[in-house]
Symmetry: D3
Subunit: 160 residues, 6 copies
Amino acid sequence: MSLTHFTHAGEAQMVDVGGKAVTRRRAVAEGWIRMEAATLALIERGGHGKGDVLGIARIAGIMGAKRTADLVPLCHPLSLTRVAIDLTLRPEDLAVHCRATVETNSQTGVEMEALCAVQVSLLTIYDMCKAVDRGMTMTDIRLVEKAGGKSGHWRLGGQT
Amino acid sequence: MSLTHFTHAGEAQMVDVGGKAVTRRRAVAEGWIRMEAATLALIERGGHGKGDVLGIARIAGIMGAKRTADLVPLCHPLSLTRVAIDLTLRPEDLAVHCRATVETNSQTGVEMEALCAVQVSLLTIYDMCKAVDRGMTMTDIRLVEKAGGKSGHWRLGGQT
Amino acid sequence: MSLTHFTHAGEAQMVDVGGKAVTRRRAVAEGWIRMEAATLALIERGGHGKGDVLGIARIAGIMGAKRTADLVPLCHPLSLTRVAIDLTLRPEDLAVHCRATVETNSQTGVEMEALCAVQVSLLTIYDMCKAVDRGMTMTDIRLVEKAGGKSGHWRLGGQT
Amino acid sequence: MSLTHFTHAGEAQMVDVGGKAVTRRRAVAEGWIRMEAATLALIERGGHGKGDVLGIARIAGIMGAKRTADLVPLCHPLSLTRVAIDLTLRPEDLAVHCRATVETNSQTGVEMEALCAVQVSLLTIYDMCKAVDRGMTMTDIRLVEKAGGKSGHWRLGGQT
Amino acid sequence: MSLTHFTHAGEAQMVDVGGKAVTRRRAVAEGWIRMEAATLALIERGGHGKGDVLGIARIAGIMGAKRTADLVPLCHPLSLTRVAIDLTLRPEDLAVHCRATVETNSQTGVEMEALCAVQVSLLTIYDMCKAVDRGMTMTDIRLVEKAGGKSGHWRLGGQT
Amino acid sequence: MSLTHFTHAGEAQMVDVGGKAVTRRRAVAEGWIRMEAATLALIERGGHGKGDVLGIARIAGIMGAKRTADLVPLCHPLSLTRVAIDLTLRPEDLAVHCRATVETNSQTGVEMEALCAVQVSLLTIYDMCKAVDRGMTMTDIRLVEKAGGKSGHWRLGGQT
C-alpha cells in the first residue's frame, strides 16, 4: 500500500487522471459545529429575519467548493455541475449540521470539493457567532458518500 | 445579546473596525484528523523520505491562512506577520494533530486565519491519504488562544 | 490635464501612493438593476423566506469589494475596515437599488472598491433572476461620495 | 414562476446542469460609461500613444470574464473557448461603449461571463480616468444575445 | 506572419479554440536557478530533513500551474489532468534544475501552464534562500516539448 | 548559516516580521526574453498599433506583483504603494528586457513582488508570441536593487 500522490522517489505530484473516463460523479460530505445553547438560539432567531447566519454560510460553502483546487495543492481543477448545502439546527446536539453535495462530469471525483464546502460553511458560522461564543468546535467532518468512477459507490459505514 | 455581523434590520455587513487600535494580535487554533492505524503508518513512513504528507499539509495550511478573507464572506482582509503550523503524529489517538499560530499588527484579530489554516492543513492530509482511507474524520477544530486587542487574552477552558 | 495612471511615455503604472498620509477614507457608490414587475415581485417574495435574492447579492457585493485589486489592473491592494451594502426594492422604478459603503485606513481611497461592490451585487441579482427575465439592465452605477485624503470631500452633484 | 437558484424551501443552490448537453454556447453583453467631453478626449489621445486606456480596459475585461465564478456565488465554473471585447468611443453620447462576446463548449451558458467582462472593462476605464472625472456613470449594462443550449437563440428586443 | 492574439485592428482577444478537437495534450518546460555553492549546499542539507526547499518549491509549482489563466491575460482556463515537477540539484552548474510536465484533455495546449509551473517553483526557491544569497538568477526558462493537437509534436532543438 | 524559513526542526514557516519596523521599501528586478529576429520585429510593429504586446505584458506584470503572496507559499501578504514595469526592445540582444520596480510601506521587503512581476510580464510575452516562435527563452531574471529595512541598500554587483 502506498500513497498515490507521490512518485517512487517520494516526490509529490498531481496524479495523472488523463486516462480515466469522464463520468458523472457525486460526493456527499458532512460536519457539525457545536456551540452554546444561547448561540444556537441566536442563529435560530436569525432564520426569522434578524440576520440569516445559515443563509450566508450556505453561500460561503458553495463558493468554497469552487475554490478547492486553489487550496488543496494536489487537487485537480474541475468543472462542477451542482453544489447544494443543507444546514440544519440540531438543538438536541447543541450543534448546526452541514451536509454538502457536489456533482461533476469529470475524470476524477469531487470528495475534496464536498469536504471543502462543509469546512467553509462551518468556518463562516464560526465567524459570525464568534463575538458571543469563542469556544465553538467544528467536528466530525467526513465523507458520507461517493458515487461514479471506477472505484464505485462508497458509503460511510458500509460499502454498497 | 446579538450578532455583530448584522445591522438592526438583520442585514449582513463587514463590521467597522476603523476605530480600533492597530495592535499586535495572535491567535492559535487546533484540530485533528482521525484515521486507520495503517494510514498513520504510511504518513509516518513519508516523514522518512517516501512522500512528505505533513510537509505538504503545512504549506497548504500557511497558504490557506492567506486566503481566509477570500473564503469567509465577512472577514476583513489583513496583512499577516507570521504563520506557523505544527503537525504531530498521535498514534495513541490514531490521529494527526494540527496547531496553527497566526499573528498580525492590525485593527482586528486573526482567529479566522488560524482556524482556516487548520482546516486547509487537515483537508490536504485527507486528500493525500483518501485513496487508502476514505473514512478519515476531521474533528475538534477550535480556537485555543487569542491575544491582543480590546477583548484581551482568551484561552480555551479558562480566561487568563 | 493628463491621466495619472500613465507615465509621460504613455506607459501604464500603479501610481505611487507611498508619500500620501494614512488617513481614514470612505467611499459610497450606487447603482440600479431594472427588471419586469413580475421579477421584482419574485424577489420581494424571496424576502419572505422563499429564496433571499437580496441577502445573497449583499454577500456577493461584500466579497466583491475584497476582490477589487484582483480585477482592476492598476488598483492598489488595500486593507478594508468596513463594507456595507444596502439593497432596496424600488417598485416605482421597477428596479432594485444598491448602495455600497466602503472604508479604510490607508494611503489611497476606496472608490473602486465601492463601485466594484455595487457591480458584483447587481450582477448576482441578474444571475439569480435571469431564468425568468433576460432583459434586466444594470444602470446608473456611479460614485456618490468620497471622504478622506488630500482631495477632500466630494459628493455627487456638488462639492461639499 | 419561481427562481431556479432556490429549492422549494428557499435555500440557494448551484443548480444541477449535469443532465444538460455539452453544446457550443455564446453570449454577447454590452454597456456604456458616460463621461465629460474632456475625459473622452483624453482617452482618445491615449489611443495615439499617450496611454492606452481602452487597451487596458480590454485586457481587464477578458481577465474579468475568467473570474466570474469566483465573484457570482451560484455561477458554475466553466472553461471558456473565446473572449473578445470591443470598446468604441461614442463622442455623440459622451460615452465609451463596451461589447463583450464569450463562448464555451459547456453544459451551461456564458451570459454571466459576458456581463462580468463588460463590468470589469468599464470599472477599469473609471479607475484610470477618475482623477480627472469622478462623476462618470456606468450604464445600460445588459445581455444582447445568447445562443446555444436548450433555450435557443435570444436577442435583446426580440426572440429570433 | 502575424500574432494570433490580436484582431486585424490590433485589439487583443482570447482566441477562439471552440472549433478545435478535444485531444490529450502534454507540455514540458524547464529552467534553472543559479546560486552560490554555499546556498546549494544548504538546499542539499534540507533534503536530509533540515528544511525541504525542493519539496516546497515542487508544491508551489504544481499550484502555480493551476493559476496560469489567472496570471496570463489571454490564456484559456483549462482543466489539467496531470502536473509533475522534477527538481534536481546540479552542483556542476551551481544550480537547481526544474522540469515541469503538464497534461490536459482539452481544446488547447498547456505550454503556458508548464512554463508558469517552472517560474513559480524557481521563485519559491529564491524566496526561501534569499536571506543568504540575494544574487541568485533564474535562467533559461523555456519549452522543451509539446505534444497533442493539430500542430503536432514539437521538441526543443528539432521537430520530431 | 541556515535558512530562515525553517524552524530548527526543519519545518517551513512564514517567518515572524511582527517586530520589524514599518519603513518605506523598494525592490527592482529584471529579466530578458530572447527570441528570433522576426518575432522581435512583430512585437515592434505592435507598438505601432498592430497589437500592443508590451502594453499587455506590462499590465500582466503589475497584476502579477499583486498575486505574489498567492503564489509563493511563505511570502507575507502586503499592501503595495507602487508598481512600475519598463519593457524595452533590445534588438542587439534579440530580446525584450523587463525591469520591475515595486514599493511598499511595510514590515518586510518586496523583492519577491518585483521578481514575480518580471516573471509574469515575460510569460505574457511568451504567450502572445508562441504561435510564431516556440523556442523563446526567459533568462537572467534577478534582483537588481533592494532598499529600505534593516539590511540596508543592496545592489547587484556591489553593496552600496
